[in-house]
Structure formats: structure tokens, C-alpha cells
Amino acid sequence: MLFRRAPLIILLSMLVPTQVKASIELTDNINLSGFGSTAISKSDNRTPLFISREITDEVCYDCDTIFGLQLDVDIFEGFTASGQVVKRTQDKWSDPELEWAYLSYEYDDFEFRAGRLRLPLFLVSEYYYVGQAYPWARPPQEVYDSILGFTSYDGLSVAWNLELSDGLLLTVSPYYGFERVNKVDLGVVALEFDTDYMAGIYVDLVGFNYRIHSGFMQAKYQQRPSPIVEKLDVYTLGGEYSYDSWQWMAEIEIDRIQTNWYASIIYAFDAFSPYFTYAESHQSRKSKAGTLGLRYDATSSISLNLEYQMIFSTEEGNRGQFVTSPLVYGESSDVDLVTLSVNFVF
């Protein structure tokens, strides 16, 4: 079974030459770049694991497959446009998602954006689909799946980038997303949220080897078909710090139905980076998890991840990181997961 797809991976790595420019310059002002990830993954539990990935105890070759293309255009002095189309884990190849499409204008210390934009809730939100850009095979689900994996809004944002000193940058960015419908499949259940607005702000403090990211978002929505209008306030705080070959990352997410956090430590020696992540979910989902992984940077644009993840339920029958209660499948609430993934950029 495992070998049947091996040619695909070899083919994929051949498609991406070892010495590549980071992207393709179509003209002086137009830049096309791309990214992708795919994985072989298997758990020891029949209950589908993780929203939009749904990994089970059968070896899965396309649960984690992502492919994206990004087009950046310099229009004229200060104006740029960017579009990103992504086949996300839950999408069919024939039906990818327009993840962002915006017009940006930079003036002095300000940057204005309008269009479809990424929700800036978490540390790696902006490159959530780019496996090459973060150490793990997947961003920790406890935090990153807390708002059901919604990643974009249609609206406006402004970012004020202020250099407090030579080594310290402060970014303050409020944003507002207009009315739209957000859909997500949770196992066999399709959820639809009629979102009235999503508005928020993030504040970043950035040094050359650290970043502190804090975010707040309020969403007003109705979960169809319910007529009840609900409001959700989401608070996030994350930090990353690197020193020498070490890197630390930690984040927490709090809203009225849940609290989630993780902490991760990564050590880089040569092309290998072993890492360990510990994560907890409370209230709505109840679990604790440890992930031990190894990333291997094969070339400047291709990396591999091998991961072993153990998730323990802290309440029998609770959904935890599954898409539904494991009781539905008559399964244990604990799960172990093995993943071998490959990431590339061009």
C-alpha cells in the first residue's frame, strides 16, 4: 500500500528542481509562486480525526494534501495586488478555494488592504497552508481548529507599522469583515454560519529573533437554521522566540466556549530539526496531546516531516480533536497518529 504512492512523491520532488528561485518572475511586476504539502497518515482509531482532514485507521494519502498558487502584482508606486488559490485539505482538486484576493496600498507607515483577507488570529495564520514555513506537519489543531478552521474574511484592514527602535517593530492592525456565509463539514454534519460581521484587531511586537502576537476578534452570526443571533469574542496570544539553534513557540486561544493552548520547542542542527509540542483543549473539546516530530530540509524548497502524535481524551465520549464523539464509532477516546509529510515551495 505504502509503495503504491511512492512514485508520486518522487515525481513531485522531481518536478521541483533542487536549485530553484523562490518564485517565477513572469515580468518585472508580476510574480507567481506556489506551495504544497501532502502526507501519508494513519491513526489507530476509526473515528475521523481533525476537522477537514478526517484521518482514520486506514492509511490515508490525501487527507493532508494542500496545493496553492499565489500571484503578486506590483501595480504602481505603493499599490500591489495579491491572489492566492488553494486546494485545501477538504477541497477536491477541481474545486479549490480563493483564499485571498486583495488590493494593497502602502503609504508611509500604513498599509491598507481591501478584498478577501486572511484572519490574523494566530502566529502562523498568514501562512497557514504553507507547510514549508512552519516546523510541524500541521499547525497544532487545539489552537488552529478552535474556530472550525475558518481562515478568511471579506473586508478591509489597515496596518500601522511603527519602528519603536532599531530592533523593535510594533504593528497595530484593526480589520472589519462584511456579511458572508461560512460553511464547514464536521464529519457527516454540514455547518453553516450566516456571519453578520467579523471585526477585530491584532497587535504584534517584533524583534529580530522574537515575535509576540495578540489578537481579538468579535463575530456576530446565526448558525443556520437557528434564528438566534450569537456573538463570539475570541482572544489570542502567541509568542515565538529563537536563540541560537533553539526555537520556542506557544499560543493560547480563549473564547466563551473553550480555552486551548500549545507550547512547542524546536532544535535545528544542519538539515534536521527535531521538535516536541504539548497541547491542551478545555471546555468544548477536552484533550491533551504530545507530538514528537522530525523535520528534514532536503533542499531549500523541499522538506519532510515525520511525526508521532498521541492525543488523550480528558472526558470519555468528548469529541476532543475528532470530528465527532468516538462513542459514535464505538471507539476509544484516545488516539495515536503517525504522519509522513512532504512540503515544497516554488
Binding site: V124, E163, S242, S245, I254
Partner: protein, 162 residues
């Protein structure tokens, strides 16, 4: 529930404080750790209007976290080829990062619409570097200090600092 929340927030702010303290303490210690090579680098330009760089500023520029100097001058960086030993040494000395760590890092920047990796030269020959600088008046480059001609504007040396 709210009591718990408050405690959490307090805990978080405590952590930020520790993190901040750590960061303030790090530059001097980092310099001591990476000062092990024989090569000394110069970050330089052909533009005499560019002011000297502080070590912090140089680090911010080469991590793509800052693109301007003196508040308004937009800077362009150039990189040596990946095969160049100087590139490896330079990033280790200035940032304490390996080339593969930097690659992952640049991928994040490029795909978040926050910037693109520096343009890469075909060779680390000083003539090529000078030619690129000549074409890019707001460009800065790095090279081993002994290969850098005297008439260029050296903004900072690495690892010594100003």
C-alpha cells in the same frame, strides 16, 4: 470561570514580561556565542547617503522585519548563492540561523504578503556584487571584508559590530 480567565491573563502577561527580558538580554550574549569564525563580513553599499547600521537594525533587515532605514529610505537586499560558504557563515554570525532555517523563514514571509526573499546572485564574486550594487542605488550587500574595495560605504561589520 472569569476568575480562571483573569488568572490566565495574568499568567500570560507574566510570560510576555519574561520573554521581553530575555530578548533584551540576548544581543550581547548572542554576539559572544557566534564569534567563532575567522571571517569578518562587511555589510556595504555604493550609496554614500546610507547611514551606518546598528547591529539590531542589520538583524531586522536581514530577517525581513524591516525594509527601511532612517524612517523612509527603502532598502533592497541581495543574497549570495546558496552554494556559497559565505552565505552560511554570514547568517550564522549575524542571526545565529542556518541556511535551511532561513529558507523556511523566508517562505513564511513571501506567502504572507510581507516581503520576498532577497534576490540571489549567480556567484559570490565581488565583481558581481559591485555590479548589482551599481544597478541598485538603495541596495546593500555583504561580503568578506578583505574582498571589499576601500571606496565603498561600509555600514557595519559582522561580527565586530560598528
Amino acid at each position: 470561570m472569569f476568575k480562571g480567565l483573569n488568572e490566565l491573563t495574568r499568567l500570560c502577561y507574566g510570560r510576555i514580561l519574561i520573554l521581553l527580558l530575555l530578548c533584551c538580554a540576548s544581543p550581547s550574549t548572542l554576539a559572544a556565542v557566534v564569534d567563532d569564525g575567522d571571517v569578518e563580513f562587511a555589510i556595504f553599499s555604493l550609496n554614500n547617503d546610507l547611514p551606518p547600521l546598528s547591529k539590531n537594525k542589520a538583524r531586522m533587515l536581514y530577517r525581513g522585519k524591516s525594509k527601511k532605514i532612517s524612517g523612509s529610505l527603502k532598502i533592497i537586499l541581495v543574497d549570495l548563492p546558496e552554494t556559497s560558504i559565505h552565505r552560511e557563515d554570514f547568517y550564522k554570525m549575524l542571526l545565529g540561523k542556518s541556511v535551511s532555517q532561513m529558507n523556511g523563514y523566508w517562505a513564511g514571509l513571501a506567502f504572507s504578503g510581507k516581503g520576498s526573499p532577497p534576490e540571489e546572485l549567480d556567484s559570490d564574486d565581488i565583481k558581481q556584487i559591485l555590479k548589482w550594487l551599481n544597478d541598485n542605488p538603495n541596495g546593500i550587500a555583504y561580503a568578506p571584508i578583505e574582498s571589499v574595495p576601500e571606496e565603498v560605504n561600509i555600514l557595519i561589520t559582522v561580527p565586530q559590530g560598528e
